[in-house]
């Protein structure tokens, strides 16, 4: 008898012992990350844990039970925020301007404490709209944002309202681009706008993902941006904010959510996230900042996955990892520590294009797991995720789900209600152990940057993506109505947002894209480059000198430089081509002394 046959028999026997010998399950019966779990967990599974040392209370070291002492009694999680930029293509096609849309979102209570923008492709790549690779992609991801001029004379006038509210009433303004330089450019443009409006930039509230390490893996090498450029610009912005803008979170310290979307598992999500966090933190420490000054500023962002218990336990493990890394690597005083907030992005990759109403259920499960894991912020994906950014209907459903969880289901009444469950504590511990092992492996190889430069991380992610596709293909993992129970598609349930004609673009440009182009040409006509050039020359010199580029970047944006020019000059200042794709050259009027 072969080993497989023997173990197969044992598996069958175990099932029989479970008293359910007739039930066959689809899929491989393991958790999403392949953890083999027992039928039931008992006190002996967590006998090695010490309550005071390993668990404790919410808001106390090691923070496994929550970042804050009174958790949801004090404040509910920050709600998913409309991706204003992301929704605009859809809205503008309907003739609704970004500003009107935003006001409507405020009225509906969907936009109450935070607002999030997404970047258009040219923003993410930090090139200008007239770059030959942009073409049909202009304005398809979000509103184009190439210059501060747009805030005052173009189609970004709603930014005046956002910036004012952010400075005066603490509205959290988020940039969700992830690609370091893209986030940093928008950050600089907003600071330039704030200064032009005569407001106090030190009062700017908000956060950005700003994680070029993840982008290098995920966004095709930062849109071909050299990693050194991305890292330098990113850490310059972090340092600038830690020293000058104390209400701002200038990075989330590692956006493993995006890698999770590619197919990595829970251990990799935590391992890579903290690998990035350590990479940034080490550099900041080298620049003379202490962990106490910045350690709790990056809000931790993870993926709210469909695997319910894995998600809950991952969030609990993440906080404990942060606390132990702060104590053991940076020597932080545990009595003075403040755990940063933890947030989830609900998993976009769990959403299907088929029978989208089921995505509403998936959303609910992911949001519930996030709340039980103690999140302080959550961005839900709308049921339209598989085909488009959220529509208004999508946001309304999301807000409804969150309110039902909070006020009908009464989940947030008690902090960490699953704490102390044999299974939850065992799984939290298991996830932390395995993730720490991986993190140690990365550190032994020289840290995240070294592992990215030699391609090890990329290979791991590629392998994971393969595996993810194969397990769905082979039915080892289940997606209802997609690779199992497909008869549920026999009666398609139509939902709004799946009906707009995305194919309308045809050979030309949409109405919105025509507007994007004309805005760009208006700007080019109205700008006097004689006023712009000196600030770009200064930025070039600052970049070459190795000093922090942020002040010079902000100044260049104030002088109406474009995103492509600013990053082009930084690239050249660091010894790289002006255009990372090497398709356009520096403008004639721009020369260096």
């Amino acid at each position: 008898m072969s080993i497989q046959e023997i173990s197969g028999t044992q598996e069958k026997l175990e099932r029989k012992v479970g008293g359910d010998s007739d039930r066959t399950i689809k899929g491989d019966g393991k958790t999403q990350s392949g953890i083999e779990v027992k039928e039931v967990y008992c006190p002996e599974d967590i006998a090695h844990l010490n309550y005071e040392k390993d668990i404790g209370r919410p808001g106390e070291f090691p923070y496994v039970r929550g970042s804050y002492r009174r958790m949801y009694r004090e404040r509910l999680w920050t709600s998913g925020n409309p991706l204003i930029g992301g929704s605009t293509p859809y809205m503008e096609e309907k003739g609704i301007s970004s500003e009107d849309y935003m006001r409507e979102m405020i009225r509906l209570g969907i936009l109450c404490s935070a607002i999030r923008t997404g970047g258009d492709y040219h923003n993410l790549a930090t090139v200008d709209p007239d770059h030959p690779l942009v073409k049909y992609d202009i304005g398809n991801c979000a509103g184009t944002f190439f210059s501060v001029w747009q805030i005052f004379h173009g189609r970004k006038k709603h930014y005046q309202l956002i910036l004012e509210r952010s400075v005066k009433d603490g509205l959290v303004f988020e940039f969700g681009h992830q690609v370091g330089p893209a986030d940093v450019c928008e950050f600089s443009m907003c600071l330039a706008g704030i200064e032009i409006m005569g407001l106090n930039p030190k009062e700017f509230h908000g956060n950005m993902v700003n994680d070029p390490l993840t982008s290098h893996i995920n966004q095709c090498m930062l849109y071909k941006q050299p990693l050194e450029v991305g890292f330098r610009v990113s850490v310059d912005a972090q340092e600038y904010a830690y020293r000058n803008i104390h209400k701002y979170r200038p990075t989330n310290g590692g956006c493993a959510y995006d890698l999770r979307e590619a197919g990595i598992n829970t251990f990799q999500e935590l391992g890579f996230r903290f690998g990035n966090f350590i990479e940034y933190s080490d550099e900041l420490v080298r620049r003379g900042l202490s962990f106490e000054e910045f350690g709790n500023r990056p809000a931790m962002a993870f993926s709210g996955e469909i695997d319910f218990f894995e998600t809950i336990c991952k969030l609990r493990a993440a906080r404990r990892m942060w606390a132990r890394i702060g104590r053991d690597r940076y020597g932080a005083d545990t009595s003075k520590m403040k755990c940063p907030p933890v947030g989830t992005n609900c998993a976009g990759d769990s959403m299907t294009q088929r029978q989208p109403i089921l995505n509403v259920v998936r959303q609910t499960i992911e949001a519930m797991a996030s709340v039980l894991g103690g999140v302080n912020g959550m961005e839900m994906k709308a049921y339209t995720e598989a085909v488009s950014p959220p529509t208004t209907e999508g946001w309304i459903v999301n807000r409804g789900i969150e309110k039902i969880l909070a006020e009908e289901a009464n989940i947030p009444l008690v902090s960490d209600p699953l704490g102390g469950s044999y299974y939850v504590e065992w799984l939290t511990n298991h996830i932390e152990e395995k993730s720490m092992e991986l993190l140690q492996k990365i550190l032994d190889m020289g840290g995240m940057r070294a592992c990215i430069k030699n391609g090890w991380i990329q290979k791991e992610v590629e392998r994971a993506a393969q595996e993810r596709a194969r397990e769905l293909e082979e039915g080892r993992k289940i997606r209802v109505a997609e690779n199992a129970y497909e008869d549920l598609n026999d009666y398609p349930i139509p939902l709004p947002g799946f009906d707009f004609e995305r194919g309308k673009q045809g050979k030309g440009y949409t109405t919105k894209q025509e507007k994007d182009w004309s805005e760009w040409y208006d700007f080019m006509k109205s700008r006097d480059v004689k006023e712009t050039a000196p600030s770009l020359r200064e930025l070039y010199q600052v970049t070459k000198s190795g000093k922090n580029v942020l002040p010079a970047m902000i100044k260049a944006f104030k002088c109406n430089a474009t995103i492509g020019e600013v990053m082009g000059v930084v690239r050249e200042g660091m010894g790289f081509p002006y255009d990372q794709f090497e398709m356009v050259s520096r403008p004639d009027w721009l020369y260096y002394d």
Partner: protein, 142 residues
């Protein structure tokens, strides 16, 4: 004599960086005995068609995750025609494309549109079948 393996270029046009599907496909095609010329992201119709000519491929596979697919594909088909390669080289497209656009893409000469939810196996089968038909007909339009 065994039939020559199918040879194809895989690329994404413009700035759309959603690279995973293309990576997953490249391994699936390789495992199915095809020869993959992997161009990856940030290509233009010119670079893709030039590569197809130099590498003497049977097919071009383009993957999209944005609204911009129609413009890019249309341009690619025109460059192929200009170079007189359109009958010999089949173009396949995949991504988040609304099902109702399939016929419009086929009308401009695309020989296979793969939508979300399609299995890797059936993509492989359809490409192999189409390529072998094109070869049998001596590179005339299928």
């Amino acid at each position: 004599m065994a039939e020559k393996p199918v040879r194809l270029v895989l690329a994404k046009l413009g700035l759309d960086d959603h690279i995973r599907p293309l990576q997953v496909l490249s391994y699936a095609f390789r495992d199915a005995g095809m020869e993959v010329v992997y161009l990856g992201c940030f290509q233009t119709p010119q670079t893709v068609v030039e590569t197809a000519a130099i590498e003497d491929v049977d097919a071009i596979g383009l993957s999209f995750h944005t609204l911009s697919y129609f413009g890019w594909i249309d341009e690619t088909m025109n460059v192929l025609k200009e170079k007189g390669m359109d009958s010999r080289v089949s173009v396949f497209v995949g991504g988040t494309i609304p099902p109702e656009d399939t016929s419009a893409l086929e009308a401009i000469g695309v020989r296979g549109v793969f939508l979300p939810g399609v299995s890797l196996g059936s993509i492989v089968d359809q490409i192999k079948q189409t390529v072998s038909q094109v070869r049998d007909s001596g590179g005339k339009t299928v």
